[in-house]
Amino acid sequence: MSVVSMKKIWLCGLESEREALLRLVQKKRVLQVREEEHRHLTSPDVRDAVQAAERKAHAAEQALKILDRYAPDQGGLLASLAGVPDKSYEDWLKESREQADLEAKAAAVIEADKQVTEAKAVIVRTEMLMENILPWKDFPRPMNTEETQSCRILMGTLPGMVPEGEVRAFLAEEVPEAQAYEIEMIDPADSQTALILVCLKDIADEVEDCLRRKGFARPLIQSDKTPKELLAELETQHGEARQKAEEKENWLKERGCDRAGLQFLYDDATLEKGRLEAVAKAGTSKEVFFLTGYVPEKAADALKKELEEKFTCSVEFCPMEEGEAPVLLKNNSFSTPTESVVASYGLPGVGEIDPTSIMSIFYYVLFGLMLSDAGYGLLMVIGCGIALKKFPGMKKGTRQMLTMFFWCGVSTTIWGLLFGSFFGDVIDVVAHTFFGVDPAKEVFRPLWFAPIKKPMRLLIYSFLIGIIHLFTGLAIKGFQLLKQKRVMDFIGGVLSWYLLLIGLILLLLPSDLFASISGSAIPLPPAVQSAAKILAIAGAVGLLLFAAWDKKNFGLRLALGAYEIYGITGWLSDVLSYSRLLALGLATGVIASVINSMGTMFGGGVIGAIIFIVIFLVGHALNMAINLLGAYVHTNRLQYVEFFGKFYEGGGNAFEPMTADTAKYYHMEDI
C-alpha cells in the first residue's frame, strides 16, 4: 500500500550495557543503525573482534561440513521448505553463554578430521614405501650399504622387465672397459626389475651413469637398517595409522549429536558480527556509546519504552531531511508477494509512491493471460497451496514466492477457463478418442472464446490491456507530480499525453486500418469524431508548449516539445509489445494440443491409453515448465520496461535493520 514512514532516533546508553542492549535491538528487528561521523567521540576499532567472530562462524561451518560427511543429517527433498526451528530469546542468551564449550566441540571435530587425513596420508606413504622395499627383503645388509674396500654396490631398479643378458650387453657396449662386475637379478617383475650390481670402484661412476640413462633408480629409503627391519617398522606404522584413522572416524560418526550446538554457534557468531558492525558505526567514550538510526514510526514508541525500561539509556526522536529515510514497503497479503519484484527493480525514491499494490493486480492478470491454461493453473494453485499449508515455518522469501505463484495460478486458471484450455484440448481429445464422442462435437467450450480460432480478436484485447496498463502508469506519474505540486509538469508531461493519445485512439477506431486488423471497425458518431480531432490537436499543442516549459529560450522550448511529440513512436512500440500476451498464450495452448494429438496417434484401447498417459505426463510437464518460465520472465518485462518506464525510477535505499534473521539455522522468536 505504501512506504512505511520512518523516525530518526538518537540512542545513548552505557558502554557496560551495550552488548545486552544491542542483542535486544537485534531481536526487535526494527532499528537500522546509521553510518555517521561522531564528533567528540571515538569510533571503536572492532576489526579484531569481527575477525574473531568470523573465525568462530567459519570453524562452526567447517565442523558442520565434516559432520555432514561422517554423520549425514537425514533430510528429505522438501526439508528446505520446512524452514528453521524457533528458539526463544531466553534460550538464545543462555546457550550463548556456553559459546566456549561449543567452540571446543567445533575444534575437536576439526582436529579429529585433521588426524584422519594425516593418518590416511601415513597409510598411503607406508604402503608405497613397503612396495618399494619389498624386492630387497632378502638382502641381509643395511639398505645404505654402499661399498666394500674396493667395490661399489649399486642397488636399484630398472623400469620394465629387463633380463640379465640385456643389462650385460648394454654395459658391454656403453662401458667397454668394465670387465669385472657381478649382477644379481633380485626380482624381475613386469613393471620393474630390481638388481644389485657390484663392480670395482674405478669404473663405478661410469657404470652408474650408464644405468641411469636406462632409468636406473636407487631405492626410496636409504637407511642403516636391513630391509626386513624396515619392512617390519613400516608395517607397524601402517597398522597404527590404520587403527587411528578408524578410531577417529568412528568417533566422528557419533558426533551427529553436536550438530545442533554447532549450528547454534554459527548463528550466534553471525549475530555477534552483526552487532559489532553496528558498534563500528556508533561513537563511544569511556562510559557511554551513542548512535543514530531509523525506526518505523509504528514501532518507534514501543522500542523507546522497552529500551528505556530495561536499560539505563536515552532514546530521542529527531528531525530528518526529505529522502533520507530508508525504504520499507508495507502491503496487504495479496500484494506483498510482489514486493520482491518491485525491490529487484528498485525501491521507491524521493517523491515516488509504492507501486506494489497496483502492479500486483496487473502482475497476476498478465501472468495468467500468458500461461492461460486451467490445468496448469490448478496444478500451481494446488502445489503452492499444499506447500504453504504444510510448512508454516518456511522462510519469508520462499513463502512470498509461493504465495505469488499461488495467485498467478488462480489467474491462470480463470484465463484458461475463459479461453477453453485445460491441458490444451485434453478433454475433447480424450472424449473423441477413448469414449467415442462424435469428433465434430465440442465437449469443453470456452467461456469466452478460443484464441487459436480468433487470434486477431485476442490481439486487439492484448493491446487494450496494454493501453490500460500504460495509462495507469501515466496516471500514477500524474498523481506523483500533483502531490509534489508540480502542476506545469503535470500539464506538459501527463495531461497533454492523455489528450493526444485518447484523441488518436478515438480517431483510429472507426478507420479502415483498424477494420483491417480486427475485422470490423467501431463506428462512432460524427460529434465524437470531431471531438477526437480536437482532443488530439489540443494534446499535441500542449506537448509542444509545455513539455519543456521551464526552458527560458522559447525556440529551445518548442524544439524539446516537438521532440516530446516524437515520443508517440515510443508509445506505439510499448503498446505493440503487449502482443506477447497473445503470442505466449497461443504458444501454451498450441503446444499442449500438439502433445495431446501426439498421444492419440496410437488410437484408443488399453495400449493406446497407456501410451497416451506417458506422453501426456512428460509432454505437459515440459510444456508447463517452459511456459511458466516464459510467463514469469515476460510479465516482469512488461512491468519493468513498459509500466515502470512511464512513472517509476526507484533508487530508494532499502531499510536494513539490525536483525536476528541473518541466522541460518535458528529463528529467534520475538515475543
Partner: protein, 160 residues
C-alpha cells in the same frame, strides 16, 4: 503444366519447406544460444553450486525460439494435409513458405544473441547473486523480436 519447383502440384512441398525452415532455423538458434548459456553456467557452478536454479533459468531463456519455430511448424503441418487440412495450391504453398520465414530467420539470429546476453547475465549473477531480476531482464529484451516474428508468422499461417 510447367515443370520443376514451380509446377502446380508443388504447393505442399513449398509449405513443407517453410515448416522445416521454421523448425530447424529457430531450433538451431536456440541450440546455439542455450549452449552458450550452458557453458557460462557450468563455469559459475564450479564456484557457486548454490546458484544452480537461477543460472538454469538464465540458460534456458534462449530456448524459447525453438519452441516458437516448432509452434509455427505444427500449425502449418495441421493445415497443409500432413497432420490435417488439405494440400495447398502452388500459390498457397508459397504463401505458407513466406509466412514461416519470419520466425525461422528472426528466431535463429535472436536466439544466438540472446544466448550471448544470457551468458553475460550469468557472469553478472556470479558476481552479484542478488541481482537476479535484472540479470533475467537483459536477455529477455532480445526475445521481444522473436516474439514479434512469431506473431507475424502465426497470424499469417492461421489466417491462410
Amino acid at each position: 503444366m510447367s515443370q520443376g519447383l514451380f509446377s502446380a502440384d508443388m504447393g505442399q512441398v513449398w509449405a513443407l519447406i517453410g515448416a522445416a525452415l521454421a523448425t530447424f532455423l529457430a531450433g538451431s538458434g536456440s541450440a546455439i544460444g542455450v549452449g552458450m548459456g550452458g557453458r557460462a553456467a557450468a563455469g559459475v557452478l564450479t564456484e557457486k553450486p548454490e546458484l544452480f536454479a537461477k543460472v538454469l533459468i538464465l540458460q534456458l531463456l534462449p530456448g524459447t525460439q525453438g519452441i516458437y519455430g516448432l509452434l509455427v511448424a505444427f500449425v502449418t503441418l495441421g493445415k497443409i494435409g500432413v497432420l490435417g487440412g488439405t494440400a495447398p495450391t502452388l500459390q498457397q504453398g508459397l504463401l505458407y513458405f513466406a509466412a514461416c520465414l519470419p520466425i525461422g530467420v528472426a528466431g535463429l539470429i535472436s536466439a544466438i544473441h540472446q544466448g550471448k546476453a544470457s551468458a553475460a547475465s550469468i557472469s553478472l549473477l556470479a558476481k552479484r547473486p542478488d541481482s537476479f531480476g535484472r540479470a533475467m531482464l537483459l536477455p529477455a529484451m532480445v526475445e521481444t523480436y522473436a516474439i514479434l516474428a512469431l506473431l507475424v508468422s502465426i497470424l499469417t499461417v492461421s489466417s491462410l
